[in-house]
Point group: D2
Chain length 124, copies 4
């Protein structure tokens, strides 16, 4: 399944075992995960963007009754911290799968957006 991972951590990178996974590598793992389970037909852009919104809402649900101060301390509780990381993963997973099916490079899109925003909101 994750042959891509093996390829991306060659022998000349001694920190390969513990390093942070690469975004493109995760995108490949997600694509392989869906392909081998035959989920391709469900992964229309429209369905994936709906799923993205559902996961974003599940992340928001954790915070819905919290004060701003309480919201800043959610990682202090182990169970809530796990839930936050789990929902972050789901949001990112659907965003990457959406980008995959439409051929969008999310990192380039964000880089270009920051460039535009730097012009749109100049520092005074």
């Amino acid at each position: 399944m994750d042959g891509a991972q093996g390829l991306s951590v060659p022998g000349d990178r001694p920190d390969a075992v513990t390093e942070t996974p690469d975004l493109a590598e995760l995108q490949h793992r997600l694509a392989a995960f869906a392909a081998v389970r035959g989920w391709g037909p469900y992964h229309t852009p429209k369905n994936l963007v709906t799923a993205l919104g559902v996961e974003a809402a599940e992340l928001a649900e954790i915070f819905q009754w919290l004060t701003p101060e309480q919201s800043a301390r959610v990682m202090d509780d182990g169970t809530t911290a796990h839930r936050v990381r789990d929902e972050v993963a789901d949001v990112l997973a659907y965003l990457l799968q959406f980008c995959e099916v439409l051929g969008v490079d999310p990192l380039t899109a964000l880089s270009e957006k920051i460039d535009r925003n730097e012009k749109r909101f100049p520092v005074t």
Copy 2:
């Protein structure tokens, strides 16, 4: 981790100038962008997760009246393609800023989630 990858390892990577930006690097740019504009007080986890949901909905809005088939062809139109990339950037931007303020590593979170899902949805 290595926030300005292009700057830090220029010599041995001839493609540094045009390469895809790094996720951590973009996260640093976003944090600096907000800090220099004094937006920190607004960036509570609760506010950022609300903004994430708003941007996910703006992405969904592009698809709301489309058939599954039409949704697969949104990148054929230049204006719509730009809008898709712009909203993808916004979703990713707020996800990264949310992760930044809570100290969540989104790539590790996703990697661990895929590991769990591989056990939860075994290939039969």
Copy 3:
């Protein structure tokens, strides 16, 4: 306004017992429900609008992997039909509670919006 409409005008309305509940009556029941449980402090407009979005997403989740045709038949399955009605109730509940705390009349707001839309989208 007249919280238990069925009870207040029984004589001249023979169908009072089985009639559809009134929106204002439901709004009063929701307010009383929250008040008696001490939930008032949590019911800021900001929190209620977040909860509204979460419930709208739970309703969307039912449809996320369905084709348009399948989505039109969700009420054929008793369990799914119950889930749809349950999430519709949650969306309406939070919308009414949001309107209650801000003093918005949702029916008048909608009536005026339809008036505006009739001018904005003239029939050709």
Copy 4:
């Protein structure tokens, strides 16, 4: 278009002109509005629930950077108050249209949900 409205305000109700519109009446106006414009084919349950989520997010957007205290005062500003009422109308419009195409009675659904919640969250 709104023949239903004429029928629902007969001569024996002297306050008919200024009274709050009825939910069922608004639902009929919305259905007629969409029908006469040929929007029926777009109004699948799946599309309408997506539109509902988009409008809920537009309502949330008004509050995304506000403190809880600021969020309680949004109606003090005329422009923001209009925007709130406008988005409330949109959320209710899509909820009613969703219910219309699936044959769900939103008021009965909510009444039954409150009944269930009164058992689920007993007052201690």
